[in-house]
Symmetry: C2
Subunit: 745 residues, 2 copies
């Protein structure tokens, strides 16, 4: 591959990106696409507005980029929660480290690679890519210490940056926890594995158990119910309302306050006392019919008591009375609460095995399908295509693109499949499920994109890379990695840049929206601000590019500028998406950060191992010797971070909980909290709305009602979606009350 | 190797064992050896007695075997604590599983192996050992399913037995915890990483912190002090007392009640109020001189409050205010409490690396020393030996035995070294230190005895077993394991049987005792009932034989009877040692069991993998296919046990703690407990006595004083050491009060 080919490829991709970005800046101004590009805004305020057919609507503008650039982290925190901030910090960290790497490597490593062998250089565009990689460095060259130095600079700066990122995110998380005094989940413990008894119901035995053992701190409890039939019924009712509401009463949609979309109708229904009474009756009914699950939410009088009960083993049989801190009410994944606790270890083991098998054998069926999709097979299967396929242009397209299209399609099945695995595993919270899927997708990506591509580059053909472990670093450095450089450079261009452009244009929702609105003539498509940020597919992608960058920084410094552009674009695009598209229904409180930390350290150590291979191959034992302590130090640094920072993501420190308790007690807020706890976890509500239930639960005290007043006045603020300037007035810092207290936002 | 050779070897070893056991039964009756063989008894009661030179003293008798056999588990529990019971259960489990395996394998597998190939059989004594192994089975034989069946029977019965063992040990542990109402450590939390402040001392800031956050449950605290100089001073005083007491006042030793050996003198000193006052003054002095460590014991008013505080992270900085449940007072390893908590992660990582390096590279220096110890080298180093070494008999001895002696000597350094590693790691309890060492020694043994010997059998010579991982099972099954069979059979005979005989005779203490008493003419040797059971060296040895047995059960069933004899002997010998020799100074509460469980499952899976290799080699894909689900089921069973049983060994269930608290409150025992807590953890006492301080601490309430009265009357009971029948009258079931409340036992 020559530089000119790379430049062509880059040019094409830049072109595609520009077109898609321009398209986006036009499409987003079309009123019919508002639910695709402003799902979040729509979920917040469904206001009536007129859209004149102004000329500007069809002029591409960079205003969204400017806006995304100007948005501060506090606004992101308010809009997307701590998880979004963590995601953005990951991008900022990547930009910083790759800026340093790009400067160091283009200044030191690139010239050394280029002038490594004594040779006649061609003009740069006609130069082969290999001239810019370490392949061009002479064996035993004295200049390899510069590569070693560059590795040191990159590793050290990565560790230092990581340390400060850790510190700042820990600070954010502590502020988040300290500001979460309205978070009722801190008072609740999810109890599973309540032992069955012939004499008394689960509810009674739970009550007896906790009043006996926690007489001073036990407040109340709420059972989880099996509800197969009720669920089905509620689903039918929901669908009926959908049809009635969206298609028959369109006028309702466009009437200011009450026009909050589907949820509000339920809202009104559920807020009526009789309906609530009815709900209780239903629950009573369920209870009477013995539909209780051996799971329940138990509420305690203080946060500390709840945390203690959640952390300790209750019973001498660890399968009974299993306690966990409850997820936030909106974060609860109800269907999994009914699973008997005894199944969990089996489910977890089975999913682990299934994931591992899927990881390892994914490439086999793909290759099979790809081999089936060759010309001859196609001609046999679809004889009518015979004439078409014989044309050289079409045949080239089919043989060249069909396999990669199949691969990409298979890759698109991975995130949903991993979400399914996480569901089967029995995660009790929606955020936990997504985080589990994120880890699985990350493993998958690193294995099937990074390792398999490197191996298939040159070595898998010889079928001996994994049978001789001690030679792996040398093998990687010798043949596999340089050969993979070409592939990964185009991968950054296509999968990286173009995926960002596709992300911003939201092709699939756009298409669905178009079909729904203009072909099926429905007022509402399936993507009405109902989807949350797909951390489980986006975070692994960004982390993969980080891995590629760190590993190829020294081997092929030319990749760094491409990556730097990718990360800058990603920074703008994801910021825009968080602000405008995705809604924030639940938040794990920054628990994605440990994944980022671990992945970055893995990338660094991997890079150091490959560098060792290069130094061994180029016969530079001094550099090899200097790299080993670097790897050890990196691992020690990781160990330090694991002990210093990661526990903060697991549990909340006692002193924080006790302080919050003491504050609330001093201010006399406890009674109000106890009141609200009674209705916080309502399974019936979940049955009624599924995952899209409204945010009315915390609407109970004066402060919240004042908030609602403020919101009403904010409703006037309706022209801003296309005017772009004033959309994101920073909201009060405490985004939690902000989000949860508003029925119509 | 032929059967006759094996029989000869067995005969020799049986002879050695018989001689040593007879020797033991004589030596133990000699009054001068009483401190070697009845250390435990002596520690319990130091009574004056006359020993006539009766004839029976020099007649070997099997009475000790009968007594060991008759001793019940409750007596073992009372004498050796729960750890000793776990150790004995491990032996019982081994006896059971190997009885089943021996029956199954001699009935099914052995004849099939013997008549596997169509060949002319010689007389059995002249038959080669290989005829009895799977090497003699034809390729593709239909009879391999019998091997598969035997594997199934062994694996399933091992799992079932393991399940019931788990159940019974869990029951024992719960009874142990429920009976430990006198255990003050349940009220104490060890706090490390108290933050430094310029304004106030560690003690003040600790007090402020806990009174602020735990106003209702905080009772008091006790700082840990740096005490380099004081320690040195105390050590000198101790040594001086040793000299004065043992050598100058021998009359004191033989005077009934006060003749309790060294500790009692200190006992009297410390129990005097002025001395205690003096001790407090010293501590006050230390405090004034700023010698406080950032560590302290914090006492809580209830067990549950202490457990909660111990389990949770106190501070948002996980390196500050680190809490752990305190070990029992006698179990505290004081020197490690002064280590700053920040160092721990570094120490742990460093020890891990050091252990791993030692594990892998242990064999290198040994081989080097062995190669240095050849004839030529010896002749060069010691020219005067030249004449001697030229004699063929001597040269044969040197070349044959010297390398193995060197190996054995190197092996003897392993347990102390691993204890050292565990100490450096920073374990806060003596039992934790020993348990850590036990794990390390187990890894070491499995690696350096099992794997290295198998590999060196045939495969390490070819130097390719570890470079082709996928072939390992076949390689193991093909060449390595059968070749190792011969080695391991003699290993069971020599290292197994003979080590038991050596254990019972206590060669090293016996020698030291002899030198001290008859050459140095001192009254007390260095082994005066001062040493606890060496779980860290004995448990790994027993587990190694379990591993060998399970792995060779099908390959070479002849090994099973040898192992069965070993385990039966071990059962008797260790029971005798626990009853008579070792003192029980501290107890981990059965925490060795998880090690046994994990090791057994590892052995089973290893056996299944090797069997797979055999089936693959003998071209029996059906058997291979049937073994895979067996391995998966074994792993699933392990996962189940890990979730169902192992948590019980980690923490004490809340309901148990709360019940104990409630009982104590109802009975009004709390005040007495609070009183005793004040003096339970006394660093000065440790300084005074080292690890051999007396058991006077809990002597404070009426019940205990009554106990002392009972003990006085028990003193008369003094003739029993050699009369063998009445030594172990079962003591009250609650062994804890029993051990800890007696000043003179």
């Amino acid at each position: 591959m020559e530089i000119s080919a790379l430049l062509t490829s880059a040019g094409i991709n830049i072109g595609i990106c520009c077109v898609l970005f321009s398209l986006y800046s036009i499409l987003r101004k079309q009123p019919s696409n508002r639910n695709v590009y402003f799902g979040r805004k729509l979920a917040q305020m469904r206001s009536k507005r007129s859209d004149p057919h102004w000329f500007e609507r069809f002029v591409p503008s960079p205003s969204w980029i400017v806006k995304a650039w100007e948005t501060s982290e506090d606004v992101i925190l308010a809009a997307g929660g701590l998880d979004a901030v963590v995601f953005m910090r990951m991008l900022v960290f990547s930009i910083r480290i790759f800026s340093i790497a790009a400067i160091v490597c283009t200044a030191i490593v690139l010239p050394l690679n280029y002038y490594g062998e004594e040779m006649q250089h061609k003009l740069i565009p006609a130069e082969s890519l290999e001239v810019f990689t370490t392949q061009n460095v002479k064996e035993g060259s004295r200049w390899l210490w510069a590569h070693c130095l560059a590795l040191y600079i990159i590793s050290c700066s990565a560790c230092i940056l990581l340390y400060f990122e850790n510190k700042s995110i820990i600070k954010r998380r502590l502020a988040y926890i300290k500001g979460s005094s309205q978070d009722l989940s801190q008072f609740a413990v999810l109890v599973r594995g309540i032992p069955w008894s012939a004499e008394e119901s689960y509810s009674t035995s739970l009550k007896n158990y906790f009043t006996k053992h926690y007489p001073s701190s036990y407040l109340s409890h709420q059972m989880v119910y099996h509800c197969g039939k009720i669920e089905k019924l509620m689903k039918n009712v929901r669908e009926m309302y959908d049809v009635l509401y969206h298609d028959s009463i369109p006028s309702c949609h466009s009437c200011g306050l009450s026009g909050g979309g589907r949820p509000n109708v339920f809202n009104i229904l559920v807020n009526e006392p009789e309906i609530i009474e009815k709900g209780r009756l239903d629950l009573q009914d369920l209870r009477d019919r013995g539909k209780e699950c051996p799971s329940a939410f138990v509420f305690f009088k203080t946060r500390y008591a709840a945390a203690c009960a959640a952390q300790a083993h209750q019973s001498s049989n660890p399968m009974l009375w299993v306690t966990n801190l409850a997820p936030e009410p909106r974060d609860v994944y109800w269907p999994n609460l009914a699973i008997p606790y005894r199944q969990f270890w089996l489910r977890r083991t089975a999913t682990l095995l299934a994931t591992a098998a899927f990881l390892v054998f994914f490439i086999a069926p793909v290759t099979l399908v790809q081999s089936l999709a060759n010309l001859t097979q196609l001609q046999q299967a679809f004889p009518f295509l015979k004439g078409l396929l014989k044309k050289p242009y079409v045949s080239q397209l089919v043989t060249g693109y069909l396999p990669s299209v199949i691969l990409v399609l298979f890759f698109y099945t991975v995130p949903p499949l991993m979400i399914l695995f996480s569901t089967i595993e029995g995660s009790i919270s929606r955020s936990g499920r997504k985080r589990g899927a994120c880890c699985k997708v990350l493993f998958f990506t690193i294995w099937n994109v990074f390792f398999v591509n490197i191996a298939s580059g040159t070595v898998l053909n010889k079928l001996n890379v994994f049978s001789q472990p001690k030679d792996i670093p040398t093998q990687l450095a010798a043949g596999a990695v340089p050969a993979a450089v070409k592939f990964f450079m185009t991968y950054v261009l296509t999968s990286g840049w173009t995926s960002l452009a596709c992300e911003v244009v939201q092709l699939w929702p756009l298409l669905c929206n178009f079909i729904y609105k203009f072909i099926l003539r429905k007022n509402h498509g399936p993507f009405d601000g109902e989807y949350t940020f797909p951390y489980h597919s986006e975070a692994p992608r960004v982390l993969l590019f980080g891995l590629l960058g760190l590993n190829f920084a020294i081997l092929a410094p030319l990749m760094l500028p491409l990556l730097l552009i990718y990360f800058c674009l990603a920074y703008l695009v994801y910021k825009n998406q968080i602000l405008n598209v995705y809604i924030t229904d639940y938040d794990s409180g920054g628990k994605y950060w440990p994944i980022v930390q671990t992945s970055t350290i893995f990338s660094l150590v991997m890079a150091q191992i490959i560098a060792m291979g290069v130094f061994a191959l180029k016969k530079s034992p001094v550099c090899l010797g200097f790299t080993i302590p670097l790897a050890i130090c990196t691992l020690l640094f990781n160990e330090y971070c694991r002990r210093r920072f990661l526990p903060v993501f697991k549990n909340i420190a006692s002193e924080v909980l006790i302080d919050l308790d003491q504050q609330d007690e001093e201010n006399g807020r406890m009674e109000a909290i106890y009141q609200r706890l009674q209705s916080a976890y309502c399974q019936l509500e979940w049955l009624a709305y599924g995952s899209s239930r409204p945010k009315t639960k915390y609407l109970c005290n004066d402060e919240d009602i004042r908030h609602t007043q403020e919101l009403k006045s904010e409703i006037e603020f309706s022209q801003e979606i296309t005017s772009d300037e004033s959309v994101d007035r920073p909201r009060p810092a405490n985004h939690k009350t902000d989000v949860e207290s508003s029925p119509i936002r």
